[in-house]
């Protein structure tokens, strides 16, 4: 079998656009998911009556179903309910739906990890609710949550590959598309693998380094 370098080089621009789209989707999903998670975890922290139940139901539903089903429901089923979204929008909505739930869970666990005595000590020296949250809970919960938060950010970027199923021309869709069109399976898999390694391995290494630093940060305090 011969390796068709010329063909490979010809597809590179498309692949770099695809890589860009993967990164773009990942970053947008991280931002929107974080926003949803901040809202949801505030609801849980403030113990709001009805909203609290809704948030918990949402978190369980989103965490216990596959992203692919969520994506298909949004892309194929919502139009018959009157909401038609493009593949790109569906991808972002689905990633946010799933990511928001995962990040809510991370933030909730971080807040719960702050020792009860810290809150009581804060109240004893007369801090207001907001001051308590701002100066006592948030900094400590933040340190507790950060490793899991970053792990979930990376998880979200990896999950963007699933949205290839609704024809969003990211890395995997582009690969599959070219394989289908030109049968250059060997070359396309090589490009896909190379770009995946280029994107995901550094992310993974970065995460390990961060994790090590944060573990030491906890001991010093």
């Amino acid at each position: 079998m011969t390796f068709d370098w010329a063909f490979l080089l010809g597809t590179l621009p498309a692949f770099f656009r695809a890589l860009g789209l993967t990164v773009e989707l990942g970053l947008i999903a991280i931002a929107t998911s974080s926003l949803v998670a901040l809202l949801c975890s505030s609801v849980l922290l403030l113990r709001l009556p009805v909203l609290g139940v809704l948030v918990r139901a949402y978190v369980e539903l989103a965490r216990n179903t596959p992203l692919l089903i969520q994506l298909f429901f949004i892309y194929f089923a919502l139009p018959s309910l009157g909401l038609k979204l493009s593949g790109y929008s569906s991808a972002i909505v689905a990633l946010t739906f799933m990511g928001g739930a995962y990040l809510t869970e991370v933030l909730r666990a971080g807040i719960e990890a702050v020792p009860r005595t810290q809150v009581e000590a804060g109240m004893a020296i007369g801090l207001s609710r907001w001051q308590l949250f701002r100066h006592v809970i948030l900094p400590q919960a933040g340190v507790f949550s950060l490793p899991a938060l970053f792990a979930n950010f990376i998880f979200l970027v990896k999950e963007t590959t699933v949205v290839s199923a609704v024809a969003v021309p990211e890395l995997l869709y582009t690969t599959k598309n070219y394989i289908g069109l030109y049968s250059k399976t060997y070359e396309m898999l090589a490009v896909m693998t190379a770009l995946c390694v280029l994107l995901f391995v550094p992310l993974s290494l970065l995460f390990r380094a961060l994790e090590r630093r944060l573990r030491h940060a906890q001991f010093g305090s």
């Binding site: 216990n64 692919l68 194929f76 399976t185 898999l189």
Partner: protein, 219 residues
Amino acid sequence: MPSSGLELLWQVAPQLGRGAIQTLAIALAAILCSTLGGLLYGVLGSLGRRALDALLRFYLELFRAIPLLVWLYLFFFGLPLLTGVSLSSFACAVLVLSLWGASEVGEVVRGGLQSLPRAQREAGLALGLSTWQLYRLVLIPQALKRMTPPTINVYTRLIKGSSLAVLIGVIEVIKVGQQIIERTHEHVLIYGTLFVFFFLICYPLSLASRALERRWSYA
């Protein structure tokens, strides 16, 4: 023509059921292989051999860093080219999920074994137990409580991951659902049913994992 959604669901239930069995077969096979592979990985990783650790570490990082769907494509499209062996899409899904799951379960097992006090291992060796006896009679039973909840979490991820099999052409529950939709155009009903199907399997597992973790965290 079926008049209501429930009636339609009743009619297509046998067909959906056959798809569900395919999905569950993939998930169960992957869970079984992941558990066995994970035990092996965990035990090997707890032996403290440098070269072996580096090898396992490499395997874990590789499967953690690269998304599952990418591995599915690589094995499905790439394996026939590189080795000449062409796996069915079903076998391919089981293989990839198992390789991924074994590394995840393996990390859980290794962590569980390493969290035990060193004295347990030393006491076992002092009694003259062989390595096999040491692990089977002393270490694994004690680590089991710590390993079970996170292992159940890996199982739910495997079940959710089995949904990706449809993307390499396995005729499982999602594909069957899509075929029914082509005939009936009942998008909401069918995708809603699929939603419920996965939720009903994964949610009890998540609850069990959480309950066990709470109960055993003081053990």
